[in-house]
């Protein structure tokens, strides 16, 4: 590693139970296996129960804080649309928002009468480049909706040239239980294909 290597920040958001912690660990393993310094922060305890959940992964030559500063995320990794919008300001203007096209209305919407935001992808492009992927749909087709997180991770891998496809897959394989390895690697490939099909939307010029 070189001392000059700048730190890369990945800010992960979603709903408790969607598998943010697993993705954080895979990204941590990916950078660690590449010989980089890594800090990674995850949420435990009460907030995991269906609430808004965040995770932070940072890698580089030397990383201090485990938590990303607002406006410093190179990647916003969002497993749910509303959560993507809630945390979009963490993105750098030259950053990339990866969002799974899944909407999980919170109780404040279903019972409380508030409105679920519309045009999320369009609004995200006001914050940075945006890659929207039907990860949940792809996972459903693979027969296990729980791998939607890995589909989105596959999509991310196509936009993060710091690591080779082999490195990415090794990190996935190292972090998932052996009996689910094949399914997760399939999901990862689906994500790569979905990213190619969807294409990255540019940041809006008026933003």
């Amino acid at each position: 590693m070189t001392r000059e290597r700048p730190t890369t920040n990945v800010f992960l958001v979603g709903v408790g139970g969607q598998g943010i912690v697993l993705v954080s660990r895979i990204l941590g393993e990916l950078a660690f296996a590449a010989g980089l310094d890594v800090k990674q922060n995850e949420v435990h305890g009460l907030s995991q129960r269906g609430g808004s959940v965040t995770g932070h992964v940072r890698w580089g030559a030397e990383v201090h804080a485990p938590v990303i500063m607002e406006g410093e995320a190179h990647y916003l990794f969002a497993l749910e649309e509303l959560e993507a919008l809630r945390w979009a300001h963490f993105l750098r203007p030259d950053g990339l928002a990866l969002v799974s096209s899944q909407r999980i209305p919170p109780v404040s919407v279903t019972v409380g009468g508030e409105s679920y935001p519309e045009d999320v992808v369009e609004r995200l492009t006001g914050f940075g480049r945006t890659l929207a992927v039907p990860a949940y749909q792809a996972a459903t087709e693979l027969g296990n909706t729980r791998v939607a997180n890995i589909v989105l991770l596959g999509a991310m891998s196509t936009e993060c040239a710091e690591f080779s496809e082999e490195q990415w897959k090794a990190a996935v394989a190292a972090c998932v239980p052996a009996k689910h390895r094949e399914l997760n690697l399939k999901a990862f490939d689906r994500g790569r294909a979905a990213a190619a099909a969807a294409g990255v939307l540019p940041r809006r010029a008026d933003a």
Partner: protein
């Protein structure tokens, strides 16, 4: 060899490497994974104690017996353990005793954000604070050695971001440390007043030695950069200073009690301006100001919540790291009971009945939030039961025994009462808002509930207690408790019967009910809150995380019958949603508990028939 480890895992690793053989504690976020990870190592003994006081006391016993022992708890757990804490500071430890306190700034999963550095000063116990996983591992070794060298318990203070952040850690081998011989010495170990008086002098002598130790402690280190500004800081705040204010010189304090005053004076003399950056209370700042060193500190920073790098940059450099404002007005997403959770049904009924519910610590604390709105209070472990007794004595039945006597008709109950209840009438006519129930979980019951039940029986109380029994400490990540039948190693252990325990404490009316039987629970609530003697209702159901086999076929909404009254939404089930104007059940999430079918007034919800096997 290097490994990516959380701060908690690094502590367990450090304790193992330096020959610790004993660990005890009670689960509590953010500390839980420390003891869980420690228990995985060979050659150690670990246990979940029923509460932190017990955990600390057994660890003191182990240290007196000559072991390297640790007691592990979250910040509020130290309150429970405070009684032995202050006195073991007098006796010393013989072997080594390290007390891990994991504080939770920003209350990610806690009822307050108390700053346990104050315990170090209060009890005159040295305190070490790591700033990342590697340092957590290193400081555990320092803590054990310091404990033995100075015959003192030593605090290791963690905060949530250190506990739950992963960082690169260099692993080492385990060193065998021989057990120190135990020698009977009542003057030192039995704190009757005359002995304790002498030990107080010993404590003060030790304090002087520890003050000198802090001046040369390797973890307290000056890093010179700009001579303009120097920052005294520690723990996670050090990392945030390095991130947000990379030009500033730092004095990184790893031994936060007692402080190295000479070192601080030395650092202060090398910079034009001195800041203190710390989360929560102005602990370092007040200590430094008291020695007459000019320091600019916390008064301009936040005292509530975590002090993030973003906040530091904003408040010290007056520069915002965010370049785009956050989207405002978005719907909030609070945590909820999981689909299939045993807590959903009982709190649905309590909300409907508008009872006063004194609650407690656990997943069921979510009942205080919308859409449940079914819990009135939540203070600490055990208070769910004891506060109900206090409430009852003031506002309900026992407040006026004369009236109650004239109304008469106490329902006597019996040790075998499980069938239909006799109609009790002592509070008939009383508005529901006057009825109180106290709620605890199974782990909380063994932590601090037993004494509350004894208190109510002993003091002629009448309270109705609900024990929500999923036979696991769920919120902290499913640790076994005395109701589980497993120990920390997940091997069989005696299971303590809650019903028998309540009967042994003198409660005659003890009932067990299925958490998914709404009519059954409703009948019990009505009858028992109207009974003029203590009663316990044990609400039984599995936690979906520990009993994956409890999942049943999904339920479905018949759109032809559904009138969209949204009655089922009051269950606050994440599996029930509205899409394209239709109420739907998300099959992925549905656990098949069937509560929604029980509350639907139009019988529009029913269970999918499992497909017949060919």
């Amino acid at each position: 060899m290097l490994e990516l480890m959380s701060g908690n895992e690094a502590i367990a690793r450090g304790a193992w490497e330096c020959g610790a053989t004993f660990g005890a504690g009670y689960p509590g976020t953010p500390s839980t994974e420390i003891l869980e990870a420690f228990a995985q190592y060979k050659g150690v003994y670990a246990e979940w104690s029923p509460n932190e006081k017990v955990g600390l006391e057994v660890a003191i016993g182990a240290a007196f017996a000559g072991a390297r022992a640790m007691a592990v708890m979250k910040h509020v757990g130290v309150n429970v353990a405070a009684d032995p804490l202050f006195t073991v500071s007098y006796t010393g430890t013989n072997g080594a005793l390290v007390i891990i306190t994991a504080d939770d700034p920003s209350l990610h999963s806690s009822q307050n954000e108390q700053d346990n550095r104050n315990y170090a000063k209060f009890a005159k116990i040295p305190m070490l604070e790591p700033a990342d996983s590697q340092e957590a591992k290193d400081l555990v070794l320092s803590a054990f050695e310091m404990s033995e060298r100075y015959d003192t318990p030593v605090f290791l203070r963690m905060t949530t971001r250190i506990c739950h952040s992963m960082g690169v850690v260099a692993l080492g081998p385990r060193r065998a440390v021989p057990r120190r011989p135990y020698v009977k010495n009542a003057n030192k170990n039995a704190m009757v007043p005359s002995h304790a008086y002498e030990r107080h002098f010993a404590l003060e002598r030790r304090q002087t030695l520890l003050e000198a130790e802090s001046e040369t402690f390797a973890g307290n280190r000056i890093e010179m950069r700009s001579l303009q500004v120097g920052v005294v800081t520690s723990g996670i705040s050090y990392q945030n200073v390095r991130e947000a204010l990379p030009e500033f010189s730092t004095l990184k304090i790893a031994m936060t009690y007692p402080l190295p005053h000479q070192l601080i004076r030395n650092f202060a003399s090398q910079v034009n301006k001195l800041y203190v950056v710390e989360e929560n209370r102005p602990f370092l700042e007040e200590e430094i100001l008291a020695t007459g060193i000019a320091v600019e500190g916390k008064q301009q920073l936040l005292r509530v919540g975590e002090l993030s790098a973003s906040a530091l940059r904003r408040r010290i450099l007056h520069r915002d790291s965010a370049q785009q404002p956050a989207v405002e007005g978005l719907p909030k997403r609070a945590p909820q009971f999981c689909p299939g959770c045993l807590h959903r049904g009982i709190f649905f009924l309590l909300a409907k009945r508008k009872y006063i519910v004194t609650g407690d610590i656990g997943c069921y604390g979510l009942a205080a939030l919308p859409p449940y709105n079914a819990m009135d209070s939540l203070i600490c472990m055990g208070a769910g039961l004891t506060m109900a007794h206090g409430f009852d004595k003031v506002v309900t039945r026992s407040g006026n025994p004369t009236t109650e006597d004239t109304e008469g008709n106490k329902s006597p109950g019996s040790a075998t009462t499980t069938g239909p209840l006799s109609s009790a009438s002592s509070v008939v006519g009383k508005p529901p808002a006057e009825r109180v129930v106290g709620v605890v979980g199974d782990s909380t019951f063994f932590h601090s509930g037993l004494t509350g039940v004894a208190n109510t029986v002993f003091n002629r109380g009448v309270s109705t207690f609900l024990i929500l029994d999923n036979r696991i400490t769920a919120m902290t990540g499913h640790q076994p408790d005395p109701a589980t039948g497993l120990a920390i190693d997940r091997k069989p252990a005696p299971r303590i019967d809650i019903e028998a325990a309540c009967r042994a404490l003198g409660v005659r009316r003890v009932f067990r009910v299925n958490a998914f039987d709404l009519p059954g629970m409703d009948k019990l609530l009505e009858a028992e809150t109207a009974t003029a003697e203590p009663s316990v209702i044990i609400v039984e159901g599995p936690c979906i995380f520990t009993d994956r086999d409890s999942r049943q076929p999904t339920f479905l909404v018949d759109q032809a019958r559904c009138v969209k009254c949204r009655g089922c939404f009051r269950l606050g089930c994440p599996a029930i949603t509205i899409e394209d104007g239709e109420v739907r059940i998300i099959a992925d999430l549905c656990w098949g508990c069937g509560l929604c079918a029980q509350v639907c007034p139009k019988k529009a919800i029913s269970q999918a028939q499992p497909e017949a096997k060919p």
